[in-house]
């Protein structure tokens, strides 16, 4: 079945295979670098997320791509759409801020370097949900800044559906990865 491919591999030699492996690894590495660099610039751990649930419909549907930032010079406001992650929950949630409560800086002579340092309580709600998110907080009464991954700044529809499809049908993921790897190895240029 793969006799032809094996033959070409043998013909091209170890050196060529190593070179292709190197190419492949450098593509992966630059992808990681771009991702982490974006994370540094936008100050969030994951600058791009895919919507996984319908709780923000009709604004966001499953598979829409969201671009997050978490600027150090801005507080969260009502109406902002935040992505938060409750400790212990494995999936980050995209919901809109319903209430903010900003506590005054405690007077110990210290000045907060950024509004993000000051204590703020948040309550969120999904546009498509009838009630707020207290039940989702797993015992927490309020959301705090440390739970927030970032706020949504940009929107691109549908594109993220690829990842959802890959999660729903793992075979697709392996087929894609395997195909790409094979292609990278036996490509001639």
């Amino acid at each position: 079945m793969f006799a032809d491919e094996l033959k070409t591999l043998r013909r091209l030699g170890v050196r060529h295979v190593l070179l292709q492996v190197l190419n492949f690894v450098s593509v992966l590495a630059s992808g990681l670098m771009i991702w982490k660099g974006l994370g540094l610039v936008t100050n969030t751990e994951s600058p791009i997320v895919v919507v996984l649930s319908g709780s923000m419909e009709p604004a966001f549907y499953r598979g829409d791509l969201l671009f997050l930032t978490n600027p150090t010079d801005a507080r969260y406001q009502t109406g902002d759409i935040t992505v938060y992650k409750i400790p212990g929950a494995d999936i980050p949630i995209v919901h809109r801020v319903l209430e903010t409560h900003d506590f005054p800086p405690n007077n110990k002579g210290a000045v907060a370097a950024s509004p993000l340092v000051q204590k703020q309580y948040l309550l969120t709600k999904g546009d498509n949900n009838a009630i707020d998110d207290i039940e989702l907080y797993q015992g927490l009464e309020w959301l705090e800044r440390k739970h927030i991954v970032g706020k949504v700044r940009g929107f691109l529809p549908y594109v993220g559906y690829v990842t959802i499809a890959m999660n729903d049908f793992p075979q697709l993921k392996y087929a894609l990865l395997g195909g790409l790897g094979l292609l990278a190895l036996i490509q001639r240029e």
Partner: protein
């Protein structure tokens, strides 16, 4: 050289490049199609009653009930890249301990330009409660109508369409008879 594979490759690369450029152009066009519509908001009555919060069934706390009137023509916000508007009325006030609060009491999603002529005599949709359980000693609150323009593709923008001219004080708590 002109294999089926390379043809498919070229066509799909061309197609995706074109789509990307088009999407980028559409999202950039939003920066030039700006509008800043203004409306008015007025609070007709506020009442404060004690009640039980959802979380602590046996803990009494104050709930404010706000009746308000909103009129605004937000149709200029609709351009070819506007998917929907998210409108919300929020109360902004400072409580006795200096905590600055912003609480959304009402919201509405507007998906068509025809529905953007807003004339609402409404009351709060969501529970309006105080962090310290009592509105006593809280400073008068400003009420604002804000909007979030959500595009088909691109950047989300926010704006404020109306704000009460003077802050509205919270009344004394009324006991339930």
């Amino acid at each position: 050289m002109h294999t089926v594979y390379s043809r498919i490759n070229n066509v799909s690369a061309m197609l995706s490049t074109c789509v990307m450029v088009l999407l980028a152009a559409i999202s950039i066009s939003s920066y030039f199609l700006v509008a800043d519509p203004k409306g008015s908001i007025a609070v007709s009555s506020i009442q404060v009653f004690p009640g039980n919060a959802r979380r602590y069934a046996n803990k009494n706390q104050d709930f404010a009930f706000v009746n308000f009137n909103v009129t605004a023509d937000l149709s200029p916000l609709f351009n070819w890249n506007t998917k929907q508007l998210f409108l919300y009325v929020s109360a902004e006030y400072e409580n006795k301990r200096g905590v600055k609060n912003e609480v959304v009491i009402w919201d509405r999603i507007v998906r068509r330009k025809e529905d953007a002529q807003l004339s609402v005599a409404g009351r709060n949709k969501y529970a309006f409660r105080e962090l310290s359980t009592s509105f006593k000693g809280a400073a008068p609150a400003h009420y604002t109508l804000k909007y979030n323009v959500m595009p088909y593709v691109g950047v989300l923008t926010y704006g404020e369409a109306a704000r009460t001219a003077d802050p509205v004080p919270f009344p004394e708590r009324q006991e339930l008879s």
